[in-house]
Subunit: 371 residues, 2 copies
């Protein structure tokens, strides 16, 4: 153990239990696919994906071809890997994807044409944009595709998908609108792609009702312990990560003195402090300056002043002096007292950004646990 770096622990058993919880909550005919893009939201796709495969997962989603090829080395060949970012424009990489059952999600008519013209007959997924204006074919492109059904005949379409813009907002009427649009697409395209499966929902979509599950649901945040839906007061997922960071120094500030860069906080009385080893270079968003809180033995330690690149100033006022942490003791950033969602709320962002920002300097430990 090196006590001078933060320690990030990923509980692979909790990850797997979350996967199984989602399998249990989804419609019987719905497969839970695992979104492991961005290195499993920062937690390590080389560790998370094999654990999920072991638990029965067979469909995985990544963002880029490079991620897909790296993932192929981590999980057996009988699993499907879909690349959300579409075809690689790099010929060699595109070929490697073909050879390794790494399937592109085609997002535009031009990508569809490219695959048709190549005559490869390789499996593809099709992505339709039902209201997010991000990736995917629009309604007018979909029309063209139905008209030129000869194009579809040249494709081995395995999956037809869309994506919700607001599925975590259970009452948002856009969810219903997007589903209706997607169902209309299914109606038109099903006769042309008899073997394809259909998917629109992400983690939040699971809690919109069984109508939304279709053949496959792409679970991401919920797998990693994030709160997936406003329809649930309590988060039904287990926390997967914890993060502790060591104390570098315990010291005192005098009344009236400032804290950190540009003295954006002033102490209104003499205050004892713990300087801890985490900063924005570790992914602790600088927007948590003067806002975030860490924990020591359950006592809240507010962040004072600006977050530095490598360190943070914490206020020990709530801790009885006889319980002060010592040099090297580990302060809780994420754990029983602070979920990833709570930390995200303090930073005015979402837990996804907390996860994907977790830094490279932490010592990472993967553990198994019983519930």
């Amino acid at each position: 153990m090196c006590a001078m770096s933060g320690e990030l622990t990923v509980d692979l058993s909790a990850l797997v239990r979350n996967y199984k919880t989602l399998c249990g909550l989804s419609a019987p005919s719905c497969e839970i696919a695992c979104v492991v893009k961005a290195d499993s939201y920062g937690l390590g796709a080389d560790k998370c994906a094999p654990a999920l495969y072991q638990a029965g997962a067979r469909s995985f989603f990544v963002a880029t071809s490079a991620e897909g090829l790296a993932l192929r080395n981590a999980i057996p060949a009988d699993s499907d890997i879909y690349v959300l970012g579409g075809l690689s424009t790099d010929q060699k990489q595109a070929q490697l994807c073909q050879l390794n059952n790494v399937t592109p999600v085609l997002n535009s008519l031009s990508e569809v044409k490219q695959v048709c013209e190549s005559g490869s007959g390789d499996p593809v997924a099709l992505h339709f944009d039902t209201g997010m204006n991000r990736l995917g074919l629009r309604a007018d492109e979909a029309e063209l595709l139905y008209e030129k059904s000869s194009m579809l005949e040249k494709l081995d379409v395995r999956l037809i998908m869309s994506h919700f813009a607001s599925s975590e907002e259970a009452d948002n009427p856009d969810n219903k609108t997007q589903l209706a649009r997607f169902n209309k697409i299914i109606e038109c395209i099903k006769p042309l792609c008899p073997d394809a499966r259909y998917a629109i929902a992400n983690s939040g979509g699971l809690f919109l009702g069984a109508d939304y599950h279709l053949d496959m649901l792409r679970a991401g945040l919920a797998l990693y312990g994030g709160h997936p839906s406003s329809s649930l007061e309590e988060n039904p997922m287990e926390p997967v990560i914890s993060l502790g960071v060591p104390v570098l120094q315990v010291k005192s500030a005098k009344k009236g003195e400032g804290a950190g860069y540009n003295s954006t906080y002033h102490f209104d009385e003499d205050t004892d402090l713990a300087i801890v080893s985490i900063g924005y270079a570790d992914g602790l968003l600088r927007s948590l300056s003067n806002k975030g809180v860490f924990y020591w033995r359950g006592y809240a330690l507010p962040i004072r002043g600006r977050i530095s690149m490598d360190s943070v100033i914490c206020d020990l006022a709530s801790v009885p002096p006889e319980e002060y942490p010592a040099l090297g003791d580990m302060v809780e950033v994420i754990g029983p007292n602070q979920s990833i969602d709570a930390l995200a709320a303090s930073a005015d962002t979402i837990s996804y950004e907390i996860l994907t920002s977790l830094g490279a300097r932490f010592k990472r430990t993967y553990k198994q646990s019983e519930k």
Copy 2:
């Protein structure tokens, strides 16, 4: 080249020219030390430090012992590496540091005592806190140290340092106060540590005047091309990095439609869009949602809606249709049209956080250039 990932280019010649510029601007007796913590602010210490060593740099600063030991593999043994985070509490790591001329910066009296008691006689640096309330011995601890001069006699103190809280604010009176406090410390401690050198300034400190330079100046941001001081209208440093990201799709949105997650932007007319391959998982701060701008051939492409994990929706309204980018074309995130400081200002942060957040999915290229 894989066109579906962003491409980050680090210009090592520009880095070296910045180092030489700083050498030229500093007082003749002042050594420019290089701050390469957090993996050279995210740019790759294994590439940046050797280039700086080659150019003559001999003193380097890192944040943790692990960084120090990794750096020792990258630069020759006749260079000094200082660890700002202090002693490692891990015995084995601490020993490795001793063996490899990786020198701890002692931040507290308890660390000083620990080294004294070990009787190792190894080189150390001492850090005094002159007003930031972050790391370093406070005035009262300094007094104790002078009184117990026997402690200092047991130490091989090579460097005595402090750190400015607001050096980039040329008119901030705190700079003068901190320097005065540090000069008082020097006065007291110099007779006890005759061989030590003295340092307080970071990049911003260079532009406060020669009185502030002392024996050594720790340059960080300025090396990497950031604007170091409010006293200068124009940034005297050369840009070191550029970042381009590929277009995944060009498409159209209809008047009234929303963009991205939770439709936080609505188009007030039919609008053509480029979806590009970068997201908050690549370190593009989510706080740039609806605020940031990318560039294509000099045309500004405003970000519409929320930044996703792996993609961003850009508005093409300013681009003549005949000049639209094609799939795979590289859009500028950082480059001639947008400095790291400009991007940071849009995100309501500092360029340091922009640099240290640069993601792992980018293809990184290190180049040489002539000015």
